[in-house]
């Protein structure tokens, strides 16, 4: 590290500092109208930020964010006007109510994929909107008035210029916290939720639980926005919490893009300005009012998404200076799993495993064991059921009958993330990396279970120590498999053979007792295969046990201690590589009748 590094990092972040400075002086220099506009942009940014994380990053679409805003606004409106409670107390009540609703909705929908969350959030959003409008005492569709102003240390925030600073202080804190969260242990897992759930679960991520956390996080941000809104307006009615408003929040999140937390601000700004301009200028232009705003607005959104499906943030980022990330600095090692030396006792026992898909028996009464410290090869012709067997061991598929035991404990029937916690790590036959994420982050995801920092620690950046260790460890594993030069490349940009190797590094980062490798040598060149074989031998020498599914006979024969041969879901043979090579049944299965 050169002495100039910290300062240049500061300088390279000039767009952020410039934005902050502009925000700080804005209320003093711009007319009232723009202060109002900026206030709304801040409020919307809070909601859009939660959606950016929930929808953009985690892939869960919510049509209920405006309803959560409504909960925050109505909670404080009711409790302050009717019972005279302090706004700070009502904020807490609003957050608690939001959390209860979000957890209920999350529990009902998030264990299923696809369209259940959108539907449940539409349903609850519409219900709440009508409830606000029809419940007696809530002022109907005309709303509630007389909400008190907020005061901080006796200073009343009656003017928009003053309220501005509260809104933006909270919005910027949320941006900072969310930025930190995305860059943490949980953030890596959240980024895997969209499209790589299976992989994440194989490394210990409880997908449904994590989705619930993200949903809760987004809902709480929306609630805070609603609380602020109620005290800014000092008046609430149901309209701003309708389904249409939820849809506009989604527009903001999608138009902004998911790459960066500032996307939420960009999206909120663009949509707010666009609506303002259309409402202001179109009637003047066309000489009549009508539905032209909404028509033009809709058309612009369609055209925008046709031109920039990933939102505006990537386009903005292209204009800004790029930061080349530094290699992780050396850090103390993470706690290492105690592994007994090669004792020869059974580590993994598969007992009469059977898997049926409808009428097809993919694995039929298969039994074998893997001994502590050995490299066991599982081979067989295409379609023999090897990968299915693999998925049965790692818990990706449930067994129809039979039993899998690891370290003397039955693991069949456990969720993949519980199996992972017991010391199994795997690679996938069809590579499952998060393409846009760097190689380093992909591998760091493998160490998910080795540190414990949660949301609060991550948001407040109190996980620095853990993160430094994980990142250094990930870098070490990547160098170990020979990809040190590609540390910061997007994983998806690597050739397929190298992506497989990244998968091995990720599995190693989990510090497993048993490594499950599904065709690791496919797509590698001869020299690379030699290196891989050497690496596996070295790992075995350090006490690791390895189960290998492979097609390449030369690779398997030279490396494994014992082989299990599968054909048509059944065990054809088992024994030392040399014996297997001479086995007539195996030769027939591979080469046809001799």
């Amino acid at each position: 590290m050169s002495a100039g590094a910290p300062r240049s990092a500061f300088v390279r972040r000039w767009p952020v500092w410039a934005t902050l400075a502009a925000l700080a002086v804005a209320p003093a220099v711009v007319p009232q109208f723009y202060v109002t506009l900026l206030n709304y942009i801040g409020l919307y940014s809070l909601v859009a930020l939660g959606l950016m994380l929930l929808t953009g990053v985690a892939g869960q679409t919510s049509f209920g964010q405006a309803a959560f805003v409504g909960v925050g606004a109505y909670a404080t409106a009711i409790l302050t006007t009717m019972f005279g409670w302090s706004p700070w107390l009502t904020l807490l009540i609003g957050l608690l109510a939001t959390a209860a609703i979000a957890m209920m909705l999350g529990f009902v929908t998030l264990r299923m994929s696809g369209h259940f969350l959108p539907l449940a959030t539409i349903a609850w959003g519409i219900s709440l909107f009508y409830l606000f409008g029809t419940l007696p005492n809530l002022g109907g569709f005309t709303g509630l008035t007389g909400i008190p102003a907020l005061s901080i240390f006796g200073f009343e925030l009656r003017q928009e210029r003053h309220f501005y600073y509260l809104i933006w202080a909270i919005a910027l804190a949320a941006l900072w916290g969310t930025h930190n969260l995305l860059d943490s242990r949980l953030g890596r897992a959240v980024r895997a939720l969209k499209g790589s759930l299976t992989m994440a679960e194989a490394f210990g991520v409880d997908g449904a639980k994590l989705k619930s956390i993200v949903f809760l996080y987004a809902a709480l941000l929306a609630c805070v926005s609603g609380w602020l809104y109620a005290h800014l307006q000092r008046f609430v009615n149901p309209t701003p919490f309708s389904l249409t408003a939820s849809i506009e929040y989604l527009f903001m999140a999608v138009v902004g893009g998911a790459g960066n937390v500032w996307g939420a601000v960009i999206g909120a700004t663009l949509i707010t300005l666009l609506k303002e301009v259309l409402q202001d200028f179109l009637p003047k232009l066309l000489g009549q009012t009508g539905q032209f705003e909404v028509i033009v607005f809709g058309i612009l959104i369609v055209v925008l998404l046709q031109r920039a499906p990933d939102g505006l943030t990537p386009l903005v980022q292209r204009l800004l200076p790029r930061r080349r990330p530094a290699d992780p600095a050396p850090a103390p090692a993470l706690a290492h799993r105690a592994v007994a030396a090669a004792t020869g006792r059974p580590l993994l026992e598969v007992l009469d495993a059977t898997k049926e898909f409808g009428g097809l028996v993919a694995v039929n009464n298969l039994s074998f064991e893997l001994r502590q410290g050995e490299i066991l090869g599982l081979i067989g012709p295409n379609g023999a059921g090897k990968s299915t067997m693999f998925n049965l061991i790692s818990g990706l598929l449930p067994l129809t009958r039979g039993n899998v035991r690891f370290n003397g404990e039955t693991i069949s029937g456990l969720a993949p993330y519980h199996i992972a916690a017991r010391g199994l790590a795997r690679t996938f036959q069809h590579v499952k990396l998060i393409g846009q994420m760097s190689v380093l982050d992909n591998v760091a995801l493998g160490a998910f279970l080795r540190t414990r920092s949660g949301v609060a620690k991550a948001c407040l950046k109190l996980d620095g120590d853990d993160e430094a260790r994980v990142r250094y460890l990930a870098a070490q594993q990547i160098r170990r498999v020979g990809l040190g030069a590609q540390l910061h490349d997007a994983a998806g940009s690597l050739p397929l053979g190298k992506q497989r190797v990244v998968e091995i590094a990720r599995a190693l980062a989990a510090d497993p007792a048993l490594l499950l490798l599904d065709e690791p040598a496919a797509g590698l060149r001869y020299a690379e295969k030699q290196e891989l074989a050497n690496l596996l031998r070295q790992l075995q020498g350090e006490g690791m046990s390895i189960l290998l599914v492979e097609h390449d006979m030369d690779f398997v024969m030279g490396l494994t201690h014992r082989l299990v041969v599968m054909d048509f879901g059944q065990k054809l043979a088992e024994g030392l590589p040399a014996d297997i090579q001479r086995n007539p049944a195996v030769r027939e299965a591979y080469l046809g009748a001799a």
Binding site: T55, G56, G59, T61, L105, F107, V108, T109, R111, M112, S113, G114, H115, F116, P118, L119, A120, I122, A123, W124, I126, S127, Y130, L131, T134, K194, G195, S196, L197, T198, I247, L250, F251, V254, G290, Q291, F292, E293, V294, I295, F297, G298, I299, I301, V302, L305, Q306, P309, L396
Partner: protein, 346 residues
């Protein structure tokens, strides 16, 4: 509540449910083939009902201007795409014929036929035709350019299209609602219960439409092509089914089903330019109960929604929408507990 009222409510519920079922089928179909959660489906419903109302008054439905404008845009897009590909002259002629001339013919037909005040049956056909023609144009202009995008982007585009069509609805048909005349005023006595001929019409015609779709998808080449695309998009492409063709065809079917539902719902309730959204949403809810994959389940879910709505409006009409949309949560819970899900999205 006595049996009489219960039966009457059931009848109402099933009538609305049958219409929701048609919409649910359209939504499932569009989602399966194109991955678009087709929010604007409700606008087709409103356009269908309001176009029929316009024809009843001998007026030309103003949607033909939208149709013509979209035809011009789609033709330009298509010609530009062909020019980039350096296509043969025949392709240009086909594009003009399909994207410009055909919609123009539909518009011309409406223009000349509207003042004639034809019989109700013909007017129904004209109304449905004018809306159906919008379907493929909508696909070409709004969806095809983002067809490869994520489900989320497709959804947002669909929502934006819903805004555009909703705005156009107000522009074309005004803020006042319309009610179209019933197909029949007949009343039947069935075991002491009054059954209106109109509701029997709705049941019969919905069943016919669903049966017709089933036949089309299992027996005709184009129907099978759509099913193949829905089942496996890449596979269908490999055997020569153009995804764009499948998408345009699907939206044609969806638009026809939507307009058809609108024509059916027109005599039952006053339809406003924005009524379609809630109707479509209820169809969507039915479709979701069916998991957006199974057609019979989607239809059953839609019928259920119709029944719930009908009884809810009797007991607590103010809270009708609240009840309908809140009752979905237990249904979802039941589905969530029943299915052990594990799949990769997208």
């Amino acid at each position: 509540m006595n049996l009489q009222i219960a039966a009457l409510l059931a009848q109402d519920g099933l009538t609305n449910g049958a219409i929701y079922a048609l919409l649910a089928l359209a939504l499932v179909l569009v989602f399966a083939v194109t991955r678009v959660v087709f929010v604007p489906q409700g606008e087709f419903v409103a356009f269908g009902a309001l176009s029929l109302a316009a024809l009843q008054n001998g007026a030309v439905p103003k949607t033909i201007w939208l149709l013509l404008a979209m035809a011009v845009i789609a033709t330009i897009l298509e010609l530009v795409a062909l020019a980039r590909r350096r296509a043969a002259a025949r392709a240009y002629m086909l594009a003009v014929a399909g994207w410009l001339v055909a919609p123009a013919l539909v518009a011309a037909l409406l223009w000349f036929a509207a003042p004639l005040k034809l019989a109700l049956g013909w007017q129904v056909c004209l109304a449905i035709l004018s809306v159906t023609a919008i379907g493929p144009l909508l696909y070409r202009i709004a969806i095809q350019p983002v067809a490869q995008g994520s489900v989320l982007v497709l959804l947002i585009v669909a929502v934006a299209v819903h805004f555009v069509l909703g705005g156009m609805g107000l522009l074309f048909f005004g803020a006042e609602g319309s009610r179209t005349p019933a197909f029949t005023d007949a009343m039947y006595q069935l075991g002491g219960i009054n059954v209106s001929g109109q509701s029997l019409y709705v049941y019969g015609v919905s069943a016919l439409a669903i049966g017709g779709l089933y036949w089309a998808f299992s027996q005709t080449l184009y129907g099978k092509a759509l099913m193949a695309t829905a089942f496996n998009r890449v596979g269908a492409r490999l055997v020569g089914i153009s995804p764009n063709f499948a998408g345009a065809l699907t939206l044609t079917v969806a638009a026809a089903l939507g307009a058809f539902s609108g024509v059916l719902i027109g005599p039952i309730t006053t339809v406003y330019y924005d009524s379609g959204f809630l109707v479509g949403l209820k169809g969507f809810v039915g479709a979701i109960i069916g998991g957006l994959v199974s057609y019979p389940l989607a239809a059953a879910g839609a019928l259920l929604i119709g029944l719930i709505e009908s009884y809810a409006s009797f007991w607590a009409s103010q809270y009708k929408e609240v009840i309908v949309f809140t009752l979905i949560i237990p249904v979802l819970l039941w589905r969530s507990l029943k299915t052990r899900h594990h799949e990769e999205d997208q």
